[in-house]
């Protein structure tokens, strides 16, 4: 058997096959982190979704905490707010949007305030003075208090009540007293009864680091001075101030002004590092098809009661784009949306020294392309994982262990089990049947029947090629091996006269179509053209068609399979996520080898779509469903009246391929194949078989060990278990076999295990 070279740990940085720009442009497509539409519409950036979630769960205290982050005086804001969020609520498109403002009012009124003051917080050293009264000074004081600045407000009023009342006459008595209590709880110093003049202000300039003023004070003292509304500053007067009137304008102005104060206090340019301010557009995608539409809770002009607010908040559908998460078991397993996962996978490829913690997730994607179809922006996680794998290979950091078994299987398919022959009686052929490695491994009788049928009904000769198309090494990111496999296939095709490929597997069809010299048709198309042969059968109960990921985007193939199934008498059930949206069975992308847990979740996800028997047109899907105990058929089994039966184990899969090749050589080409015969007998206990399948140990590996044992006599006798234990290093692994020597030429294998580390005796 050919060996694949294990990587070293001293990396020589070779070629970077992944670019940051490429990843960034892909990450840009993921809208998971986009704000919900209500949040985007709010200039104060209130996290409305989180607030409604808390309120909907009945936790008005938590809802108030969220609201207070955007609004230091929630009752004032909710009374005067113009609620631009409400018009943007996606529920407006299909029914009643959420009554956000009334919910906010109820939250502000009934939500229990948690933090009454901040006197115990460490204050900043820089001080701020605010001159004048009104909504802007009030909100600004609230914002700066949150940022822990020592603030002094100089106002004309004589009392705090008067200060608050002058600009909030719209508050009712209850609301006023609540907001007054809130204001009293804040760590803000007030100097009442001030007459604010230029000299008064200039006098304070030396005592404070940043000066702020209400709009009216600014107008009165500096009527001609220029004002920069985006920074809320008058640079000539060195004064942070405002011009707009109204609750929303004052609240938004105070937010901007607080940021300006923050920058000025640190002696930084207020123009820089401001982030996104104000309302914005959101690119978020919301699936409204599953939204439960309920009528808006009516409000009688007195505001919602706490219960009514909770009920109304419950109607919020919590806009999130989770289209990929809903459909992909892999993304759900890692609980990361593709934008974030891609960034992490990219970083994983760029680590030179240290742990590559994303190796496992990167190798667990089935590269099936489902995410690209279900994502409203066509995010291609398969591409990200594929180029990341290639990059790990190109920089010699890709571990061989997750993919070695599959790669050796490819070597076997295109080595010992490979067969390329023109139809008997032909030198070159018009067609070549390429059933795919899994079909020969799982349903050899079906492959044989299909080949004989094609030979008998097609003109110009049908050659046969049993081998691997190269998908295995392509999925593993082994691009050099993929190139070599392509060349190998091309050479063999050319020997057959470059015939038209009739593919038995959609993935092979897709893979072979990428060869310049090769034209490909699916056997399903040929069968529809020729008409179905005699002897086929349909199932007497409805079947769920599982579309192969190899046929994603290939509506004709998907349709052809259904037509054949119906012609055979099957009643086809369409499952959710069928056609282009079909999930992977867990075999694709070598997930089944690299991460069995995720692969099992993928299979489970496929099977939970229907209770009916599954009909596939990829043999790997058929196999994985059957392994889970589901009645599972390949379309060609039905067409040719065969039944591949229960799924073979990994050793039987190899033996089936070899037997098929040898049988066909004998029967059709009248050649006597070279067959290795053991000159001793090997039996296996059921437990040994189970362990070998679970641990990916082939009977060929066992034979290697036993041959070595018979040659050298090297083994250990374990007196506790009464078993002999022999070992041999095969390729990159050491295999250990536990057995009983029944006679000189007969052994019963009781167990097997392996490790990749090499072990040697040490001197000294």
């Amino acid at each position: 058997m050919s060996q694949i070279e294990e990587r070293g740990s001293t990396h020589v940085y070779k070629v970077n096959r992944i670019s940051k720009e490429e990843i960034d442009s892909m990450v840009e497509r993921c809208v998971y982190e986009e704000p919900p539409f209500c949040n985007a519409a709010c200039p104060l950036k209130l996290d409305t979704r989180a607030m409604l979630k808390a309120a909907g769960s009945g936790d008005l205290k938590k809802a108030l905490q969220v609201y207070e982050k955007a609004a230091p005086f929630p009752l004032i804001l909710s009374t005067g707010c113009e609620a631009p969020c409400e018009a943007k609520c996606r529920l407006c498109e299909v029914g009643d949007g959420i009554d956000i403002r009334n919910i906010e009012k109820a939250i502000a009124r009934y939500g229990q305030q948690t933090r009454l003051g901040s006197i115990f917080r460490t204050k900043k050293k820089k001080t701020v003075a605010i001159f004048g009264s009104g909504l802007f000074p009030l909100f600004l004081a609230g914002e700066l208090e949150k940022k822990a600045y020592p603030i002094t407000v100089f106002c004309e009023q004589e009392t705090l009540e008067a200060f608050l009342h002058c600009e909030t006459p719209f508050l009712d008595t209850d609301a006023f007293s609540l907001e007054l209590k809130r204001l009293k709880g804040k760590d803000i110093q007030f100097v009442f009864g001030c007459t604010i003049t230029s000299s008064f202000l200039e006098e304070k300039r030396t005592a404070f680091d940043v000066l702020c003023a209400s709009g009216s004070v600014f107008q009165q003292l500096y009527p001609e001075a220029a004002f920069l509304p985006e920074l809320m500053i008058c640079e000539a007067a060195q004064l942070v101030t405002c011009r707009e009137e109204g609750v929303m304008a004052a609240a938004f102005g105070a937010k901007k002004a607080a940021l300006t104060v923050d920058r000025l206090a640190q002696n930084l340019d207020p123009r820089n590092m401001r982030g996104s301010e104000g309302a914005c557009e959101s690119r978020l995608y919301t699936d409204l098809s599953e939204a439960i539409l309920l009528k808006r809770i009516p409000e009688n002009g007195q505001g919602y009661s706490a219960e009514e607010a909770v009920a109304e908040a419950k109607r919020c559908i919590q806009c999130h784009c989770e289209e990929c998460m809903k459909s992909c078991a892999y993304l759900r397993h890692y609980k990361k949306y593709p934008g974030l996962l891609s960034k992490e996978i990219y970083n994983n490829t760029q680590i030179i020294m240290g742990d590559h913690q994303l190796n496992k997730p990167m190798n667990a994607c089935s590269l099936c392309g489902q995410c690209t179809v279900v994502c409203p922006n066509g995010f291609d996680m398969a591409h990200v994982c594929h180029i990341a794998r290639q990059n790990m290979v190109s920089t010699d950091k890709m571990p061989l262990a997750p993919h070695e078994f599959a790669l050796l299987d490819l070597y076997f398919s295109n080595g010992d089990a490979f067969l390329a022959r023109p139809q008997p009686g032909f030198d070159t052929c018009r067609y070549v049947f390429f059933p795919g490695c899994q079909a020969s491994a799982i349903a050899p009788e079906t492959v044989k029947a299909a080949y004989l049928d094609l030979c008998s009904r097609l003109e110009g000769g049908v050659a046969l090629m049993l081998g691997c198309c190269g998908a295995i090494c392509d999925w593993a990111g082994r691009y050099e091996m993929t190139g070599r496999t392509e060349e190998f296939i091309d050479r063999e095709m050319s020997k057959l006269g470059n015939p038209i490929v009739i593919a038995g597997c959609p993935t092979c069809a897709k893979e072979l179509k990428s060869h310049e010299e090769i034209s490909v048709r699916g056997i399903w198309d040929v069968l529809l053209e020729l008409g179905l042969p005699e002897g086929g059968y349909g199932l007497d109960r409805p079947v769920a068609v599982h579309d192969s990921c190899g046929a994603r985007g290939d509506a004709e193939t998907q349709k052809a399979i259904r037509t054949i199934a119906e012609e055979l008498g099957c009643t086809v059930i369409e499952t959710p996520y069928s056609g282009d949206r079909s999930p992977c069975c867990g075999y694709g992308g070598l997930t089944a080898y690299a991460n069995r847990e995720v692969a099992a979740e993928m299979t489970e996800q496929c099977l939970k779509r229907s209770e009916a028997p599954y009909l596939s047109y990829c043999m790997a899907c058929r196999d994985r469903f059957a392994r889970q105990g589901r009645e599972s058929r390949h379309i060609l089994e039905l067409v040719y009246g065969t039944d591949a039966g229960s799924p073979p184990d990994i050793s039987e899969k190899r033996r089936n391929r070899l037997t098929l090749k040898n049988d066909l050589l004998r029967e059709l080409w009248l050649e006597e194949p070279m067959e290795m015969k053991l000159d001793y007998q090997l039996n296996y206990t059921e437990e040994a078989r189970r362990l070998m399948d679970e641990r990916m140990i082939l009977t060929d590996d066992v034979i290697d060990v036993m041959n070595f044992y018979r040659e050298t006599g090297e083994a250990v006798y374990d007196s506790e278990s009464g078993l002999l234990i022999a070992r041999n290093r095969v390729g990159n692994a050491t295999f250990w076999i536990k057995f009983i020597r029944e006679s000189e030429n007969s052994y019963t294998v009781h167990g097997a295990y392996s490790h990749r580390m090499n072990v040697v005796k040490r001197q000294g």
Partner: protein
């Protein structure tokens, strides 16, 4: 005097016999090697031919987890 480091020690306690040499395996010095890393260990070793025995529990436990850690380095 330097203390010799061993990452793992297994004493065969006279339960294992080398079939080639007909002697009992003894606790002996061995080394695991993987991806250019080496780990000194003490495992059951044949004092005559040097056969090093790796028990199943060790292979599937500690050895497998160290392999995975090194593969992702």
């Amino acid at each position: 005097m330097a203390i010799e480091k061993n990452y793992y020690t297994i004493d065969p306690e006279g339960k294992l016999q080398c079939m080639k040499c007909g002697v009992l395996l003894e606790k002996g010095k061995a080394k695991f090697m993987y991806l250019d890393n080496g780990f000194p260990v003490e495992l059951p070793v044949c004092p005559v031919c040097g056969f090093v025995y790796v028990p199943e529990e060790l292979a599937l436990g500690k050895v497998a987890s160290v392999e995975r850690a090194l593969e992702d380095k």
